[in-house]
């Protein structure tokens, strides 16, 4: 089996706020393989964005503290690099796309200038070469009339077009890894579908591995080969996309899947997950889902279930799995 391109090992992140220490990410581990798309799903506050920002070392510290773990990019631990070395990686070996491109593009520079700057810093391209490459990238992401658009400012573009520029920028220096944090959440469905197709095409062409952070199970089913499900700062289930959708094991994953109203099938009353996510300041001795799980017993409440394989490549953090025959 191939070596993982990016490997996150037992990542621990806490936030300090007003004398309190809040758990944000608690022992997250996963591997991103070359050429693959890995989806990280979960609801707000589950730690999926903190995980991606920690990988890029983009969390402000304080208040954020990466307290443990490793982020290995082809064997090199990013958490041990200096800020200067990190800067070289960001926009170079690692690209990033955010939900709202307007906040990550600089409004006072043209789209072209921003791509050219990145090319100059990371690939040493200058002058006409850089500009030609910028236009080539804008063509690659199918921005209409790229030779004109290259001189446009971000506000002159539509939301979908801005996201294309953002992708061009992220791909400018042939990154090995692309981290996309809710890249299509702010877009209309027809535009979303164009952007997802584009990302897939580019991946086929460049072999870039993609880590996709999203709350949208539809987007995951359609674009990812591997899925990591997070809940309250931890990975509670992971596996191949077919395993997660066809054979969900964790009671939370099951609840989440059943709560989505589907366009392609009539459903009765939607299933719900009673209760709420435990607040991040609360210490949880056992399983973090126990308070909402109808199968939870004393063991669940007292000792945290480790991630364990249930079938080949499919892991779940639940004492009761498989829940057939389980008894509360």
């Amino acid at each position: 089996m191939a070596e993982p391109l990016l490997s996150v090992r037992d990542l621990q992140v806490r936030f300090r706020s007003g004398g309190q220490s809040l758990r944000a990410v608690d022992g997250v581990s996963f591997d991103l393989m070359p050429g693959q798309t890995l989806g990280i799903v979960g609801e707000s506050g589950c730690g999926k964005s903190v995980t991606s920002l920690s990988i890029m070392r983009l969390l402000p510290s304080p208040p954020a503290m990466i307290e443990g773990g490793q982020v290995l990019l082809q064997g090199r631990d990013l958490l041990k690099l200096s800020e200067a070395e990190m800067r070289k990686l960001r926009g170079g070996r690692m690209g990033m796309i955010f939900q709202e491109p307007m906040t990550s593009l600089n409004p006072v520079y043209t789209c072209g200038d921003q791509i050219i700057e990145s090319l100059r810093i990371h690939s040493g391209l200058k002058g006409k070469d850089a500009r030609d490459r910028a236009i080539e990238l804008l063509t690659l992401v199918r921005l209409p009339s790229p030779e004109k658009r290259v001189d446009d400012y971000p506000h002159q573009l539509s939301g979908g077009q801005r996201q294309r520029v953002m992708i061009a920028l992220a791909l400018a220096n042939d990154p090995a890894v692309l981290i996309a944090d809710e890249p299509t959440t702010a877009l209309d469905v027809t535009i979303q579908s164009q952007i997802l197709d584009l990302m897939r095409d580019l991946q086929d062409r460049t072999g870039t591995a993609i880590m996709l952070i999203t709350h949208d199970l539809g987007v995951v089913a359609e674009t990812c080969q591997q899925v990591v499900v997070m809940y309250a700062g931890a990975v509670i289930e992971k596996g191949e996309v077919q395993q997660i959708f066809q054979d969900p094991q964790h009671p939370y994953t099951i609840g989440l899947m059943a709560a989505v109203p589907r366009m392609d099938t009539a459903r009765g009353r939607l299933a719900t997950i009673p209760g709420a996510v435990p607040p991040p300041w609360q210490a949880i001795p056992g399983c973090r889902f126990a308070g909402r799980c109808p199968l939870a017993d004393d063991r669940c409440r007292k000792s945290p279930p480790p991630l364990r394989p249930i079938t080949a490549g499919h892991e779940v953090a639940c004492w009761k799995a498989p829940i057939e025959g389980a008894r509360a």
């Binding site: 609801e43 979908g160 209309d188 469905v189 539809g218 089913a221 996309v241 009353r269």
Partner: protein, 353 residues
Amino acid sequence: MTELLRVQNLTKHFPVKRGLLRRQVGTVQAVTDVSFTLAPGETLAVVGESGCGKSTLGRAILRLHEPSSGEIRLDGEDVTALDTRDLREARKRMQIIFQDPYGSLNPRMTVRETLAEPLLLHGMATPANIRAKVDELITMCGLSAWHADRYPHEFSGGQRQRVGIARALATRPRLIVCDEPVSALDVSVQAQIVNLLQDLQRQLGLAYVFISHDLGVVRHIANRVAVMYLGRIVEQADTEELFLNPRHPYTRTLISSAPRPDPTVARHKLPVEGGTPSAMALPSGCAFHPRCPMAVDRCRAERPELRQLGGTLVACHRADEAVEGMDVAAAGKDSPALLRRLEILEQARTMQA
């Protein structure tokens, strides 16, 4: 069929003014010539992408935007002709829920004060029984009575939407315009609010105009669906009919573009280029023709009127032509393992209770 709401040729155009003299330089044709009816207890979903005019339509129905022309009849009464006082009276019967109810809740008032105001104002409660009335309202929306004495910022997104719903219900309306009420919520919370809206509809006989861009939610909650594109309804049909047999190329594009939470279905995607044009400079003929894979000369020259085709109203010259490979809404299925395990969880939950 009895009729609660009749919207007839409703149009809302916004003038665009520029310069020192505020001269009108153009018009945003937000809503043009929209007609539909709604029965008591029924849900009509209005779907479309950003800028299609669905929110403007919702507000124009309540006259939060003054319509440019057209008629809105609530229980036979022409709402567009009412003066301010009668309009206030009519608004008791029609209410609105927003995507983020935060904007409609006063941050300095407790939820109890917010809910008591319309009850007292409209004479639906007296100072003597107001406490009990508010408690009743808030428990009906799935919150506890003690929640009423808290401030809006103390609530989570889902709870806040429950307060927004309670506020809308205070005057016992018969019609509620729901403007993207679950779009900002997490999936598990969204399911709770959708269920609540359905329960309240059954209990109180409410009619909903449900504005949404989420086709999954729409399929689940609506009896009928109207699809809007650039200010006009381009297709209207019963929900099942619309999803199983979409007639307008735009509807097909929408349905085939929405990602499905099922890795086993291979999706047949319809190619669509570009985005929605500006509502200030509408394309000639059919507004969808620049993006339509089926467009012919006639589509560029002549705007198609809505016409009846089976049970569907559709505005497309080529809607009755058979299209190959257009099985856009191939039926999906939940995995047997998911259903089996869900059942186990539900049973355990019932045993617990």
